[in-house]
C-alpha cells in the first residue's frame, strides 16, 4: 500500500483502492465481530474477564459498534463504490491515488478513534460516540475524499445515463457528510437538553437511513443484474425507491424519542414517516425479486446471488419491525429492551452485511481476476453467518419481549436478569459463530489473492465457480 500512496495516479493499477478497501473491511469485520463475541460473553457470563477497566463492557461496547459500522460496513461500501461506480460509468476510478490515501487515512483515523473510545474518551452520545476531533477527521479525511472520488467518477463517466446504483452512491456520499456535520452539532456547539437528544438520534437514524440502507440497496441493484444477466425489472421503481428513501428516511428521528417531552406533533409526524419507510422497502424488495425472474436457480448455485437475495429477504422483517416498533403503542413495550438490539443487528448484521458481503466477494474476485479459493469455505461462511445471526436475532427478540413484560409489570430487575440468562448464552453462541465465519472468510479471500485460479479475460469469476 505504501508503494502506491506515493506513486503517480496512472501508475497505480485500476481497482487497487477497491482491493485495499475490501480487505480492510473484512479485517475490521473480524475485529468487530470478535469484540461483539467478547462483549456477548461478558453478558452471558458476568464473571468473564473482570477487574480491568479496559475490558469492562462500558468501554468495549462502543468499540464493537463503531468497528462494525465505520470499519466493516462503511469500508465495504467504499470498496463497492470504488469498484462499481467506474464499472457503471464505463470508465476508471477518477483517482486511484485519492482512493489509496482515503483507505490509508480511514484505517488510521478509525484505529485512533476506536483507541480513544476504548480508553473511555467518548462524547457519551450513542452512535455519535466519537469525540469531536474524530468526527471532523471522519468528515474531512474519510467522507469528503470518498464523495469526491465517487462524484468525479460519475461526472467523468463514458455513458450518458446514470444507472440506479450510482444515483444512490452519489446521493448517499453527499448525505452522509451532512449527517456527520449536522448530527454532531451538539458536541461542536455544546447543545444540551432535548436539542441534544434530538440531534443525537437524528444522527443515529440517518447514519442508518441515509448511508447504510441506501448504499446496501444500491449494491443489490448492481449485483443481481450483473450476476444473473437479467436487466433490472424497473427503472421506474428505482425512482420510487430512491426518492422515498430521501423523503421518508430523513424525517423520523423523533420516533427514537417517543417517550421524551418532544412536541407531540413532531412525534406523530415522525411516527407516520417511520411506517412509510415501508415504501422504499417495498419498492426495493419488489424490484430485486422481480429482477430474479427465471434465475432463481442461482439463489442456490451462486454465492453472490445467495448473499444478495438473503439480504433482500431480510429487508422484509427488518422494515416490518422498524415500521411498527416505533409507533407509540408498540414502542411503549419494546423501548429500551433487547428487542431493539435484535432489530439493530437485523439491520446491520442481517440485511446490510449480506448485501455488502456479496459486493466484496464479487468485487475482490473480479478485480484480482482470481476465482474464489474455496467455494466450500464460502458456503460455510454463508451458513455460519446466517445461522449465527439467526440465533442472535431470535434469542435477543425473545429476550426483549421478556424485558418488555418485566418493565411493564414492574418485575424486580434481578428476576428479569435471571430470566434473560439462557438467551444471553444463545446470543453469545450466535455471535461467536458469526465471528468464526468471518475468520474463515478472511482466510478464503487471502488465499484467493495468493492462490486463486486466474480468471481468463472475458469471463466472470462466478461463471467458473463449479469448474476445476
Amino acid at each position: 500500500m505504501l508503494k502506491y500512496l506515493f506513486a503517480k495516479n496512472e501508475d497505480i493499477p485500476a481497482g487497487s483502492a477497491a482491493i485495499f478497501f475490501g480487505f480492510s473491511s473484512i479485517v475490521w469485520f473480524v475485529i468487530g465481530t470478535g469484540l461483539g463475541s467478547f462483549n456477548a460473553a461478558k453478558l452471558a457470563f458476568p464473571d468473564f474477564v473482570t477487574g480491568n477497566e479496559f475490558f469492562a463492557f462500558g468501554h468495549m461496547r462502543q468499540v464493537h459498534v463503531h468497528a462494525v459500522i465505520f470499519g466493516w460496513i462503511s469500508m465495504a461500501f467504499a470498496m463497492a463504490m470504488m469498484y462499481i461506480t467506474p464499472a457503471l460509468g464505463n470508465t476508471r476510478l477518477w483517482s486511484e491515488k485519492l482512493g489509496m490515501w482515503n483507505c490509508f487515512l480511514w484505517n488510521v483515523g478509525l484505529s485512533l478513534g476506536l483507541t480513544l473510545l476504548w480508553a473511555g474518551i467518548t462524547s457519551g452520545r450513542e452512535y455519535s460516540d466519537f469525540p469531536w476531533p474524530i468526527d471532523l477527521y471522519i468528515a474531512c479525511f474519510i467522507a469528503i475524499p470518498l464523495a469526491t472520488n465517487v462524484w468525479m467518477t460519475v461526472l467523468t463517466r463514458r455513458t450518458q445515463g446514470i444507472y440506479t446504483t450510482n444515483w444512490f452512491f452519489t446521493a448517499a456520499t453527499f448525505m452522509v457528510i451532512i449527517v456527520f456535520v449536522v448530527g454532531n452539532t451538539p458536541e461542536f456547539f455544546h447543545l444540551t437538553g432535548l436539542t441534544e437528544a434530538y440531534m443525537t438520534w437524528w444522527f443515529a437514524h440517518n447514519v442508518l437511513g441515509l448511508w447504510i440502507t441506501p448504499v446496501a440497496a444500491a449494491i443489490a441493484y448492481y449485483t443481481i443484474p450483473k450476476v444473473t444477466g437479467n436487466p433490472l425489472y424497473s427503472h421506474r421503481i428505482g425512482h420510487l425507491h430512491f426518492w422515498s428513501v430521501v423523503v421518508f428516511y430523513s424525517t423520523p428521528a423523533a420516533h427514537h424519542l417517543m417517550s421524551a417531552p418532544l412536541p407531540e406533533w413532531l412525534k406523530s409526524f415522525a411516527s407516520v414517516e417511520g411506517v412509510l419507510i415501508l415504501v422504499p422497502a417495498i419498492a426495493f424488495v419488489s424490484n430485486i425479486m422481480l429482477t430474479m425472474q427465471g434465475k432463481w436457480n442461482m439463489f442456490v448455485e451462486n454465492l453472490e446471488v445467495r448473499f444478495t437475495v438473503t439480504g433482500c429477504l431480510l429487508a422484509i422483517p427488518l422494515n416490518m419491525q422498524g415500521g411498527f416498533q416505533q409507533t407509540r403503542a408498540i414502542n411503549w413495550y419494546v423501548h429500551g429492551t433487547g428487542w431493539i438490539v435484535a432489530h439493530a443487528h437485523l439491520a446491520l448484521l442481517g440485511f446490510s452485511t449480506f448485501l455488502e458481503g456479496a459486493a466484496v466477494y464479487l468485487g475482490l474476485q473480479t478485480l484480482m481476476k482470481r476465482k474464489l479459493y474455496s467455494l466450500t469455505l464460502g458456503n460455510m461462511h454463508f451458513w455460519l453467518l446466517l445461522i449465527g445471526f439467526s440465533i442472535y436475532w431470535i434469542s435477543m427478540t425473545i429476550a426483549g419481549l421478556i424485558q418488555g413484560a418485566g418493565k411493564i409489570y414492574e418485575v424486580p430487575y434481578i428476576d428479569v436478569v435471571i430470566a434473560e440468562h439462557p438467551y444471553m448464552i444463545a446470543r453469545w453462541i450466535g455471535g461467536t459463530m458469526v465471528f468464526i465465519s468471518n475468520v474463515l472468510w478472511l482466510y478464503n479471500m487471502w488465499m484467493t489473492a495468493r492462490e486463486g485460479t486466474v480468471v481468463p479475460v472475458g469471463r466472470m469469476p462466478h461463471e467458473m465457480a463449479y469448474e476445476r
Partner: protein
C-alpha cells in the same frame, strides 16, 4: 413538458424526446447493466396504498400521547375541596375526583393518563406556579412528576398567546398529509418524464 389532460398517466415528455430517450436507452449498456421500464405491479400499488393508510391509522394518537398539565388543572382545584380533604385513603380520594369529572371535556385524555394522589401532590405546586405566570398549560407536558415546556405549535401573538393550537387528534397529521401528497405528486412527475411503460427496451443476453 406538458400534461396531456385527457390521458394524465401518459408520459409528460414530447414524442420527439421520448423517441430520443428510447434510442439512448436501447443503444447504451450503462457500463454493463441495463434497466427495463416496467410499471409497478398492481398488487404492489395496492400494498403501497395500504401502507400509507396504515401509517396514518396506526399512529393516530388515541394512545400514548403525553398529557399536558391542562387536563389536570381541574383536579388540582378539587384537591382543596373539603369533601376530598376529608377522605384519608388516597385511592378513594382520587376515585372521587375522577368521578366528579365524568363526562367533562378532557375525559378521554384523563382516562388514558390516570394519575395518583401522590403524583397530583407533586405536580400541584409546579402547575400552580405556571398558572401564576399566566402561561398556557397546553404548551407544557407532564413527565412523571415533572412539568416541562414541550409544545411549540403556532405563532405567538404580541400578548403571549398562541394564534392556534392543534387539536389533540391532529398532532402533526395535516402537515404529514401535505408532505406525503407532495412526495407522491413529485415521484409521479419524475417517473412521467421517462418513456411510457408501454415501451420496453429489448435487453438481450448481450448486455
Amino acid at each position: 413538458m406538458a400534461w396531456v389532460m385527457d390521458n394524465p398517466l401518459a408520459t409528460t415528455n414530447s414524442p420527439a424526446q421520448n423517441e430520443a430517450d428510447q434510442k439512448l436507452w436501447e443503444a447504451e449498456d450503462l457500463g454493463g447493466i441495463t434497466e427495463d421500464n416496467n410499471r409497478l405491479p398492481i398488487p404492489v400499488v395496492w400494498l403501497l396504498l395500504l401502507t400509507v393508510l396504515t401509517a396514518f391509522a396506526i399512529t393516530f394518537p388515541l394512545w400514548g400521547q403525553r398529557p399536558t398539565p391542562a387536563i389536570y388543572a381541574d383536579y388540582l382545584k378539587d384537591m382543596d375541596k373539603p369533601e376530598i380533604q376529608s377522605i384519608t385513603n388516597d385511592d378513594e380520594a382520587i376515585k372521587k375526583i375522577v368521578a366528579m369529572h365524568q363526562g367533562g371535556p378532557n375525559q378521554a385524555q384523563l382516562e388514558r393518563h390516570p394519575i395518583t394522589m401522590n403524583e397530583l401532590r407533586s405536580l400541584k405546586p409546579k402547575i400552580e406556579e405556571l398558572q401564576k405566570k399566566g402561561v398556557d398549560l397546553r404548551d407544557y407536558t407532564v413527565v412523571g412528576t415533572e412539568v416541562v415546556f414541550a409544545n411549540f405549535e403556532g405563532n405567538m401573538r404580541a400578548n403571549g398567546t398562541r394564534e392556534r393550537f392543534q387539536p389533540w387528534w391532529d398532532m402533526g397529521y395535516t402537515i404529514d398529509i401535505f408532505y406525503v401528497c407532495i412526495f407522491f405528486l413529485g415521484v409521479v412527475g419524475v417517473v412521467k418524464r421517462l418513456p411510457p411503460s408501454s415501451w420496453q427496451p429489448t435487453h438481450g443476453a448481450g448486455h
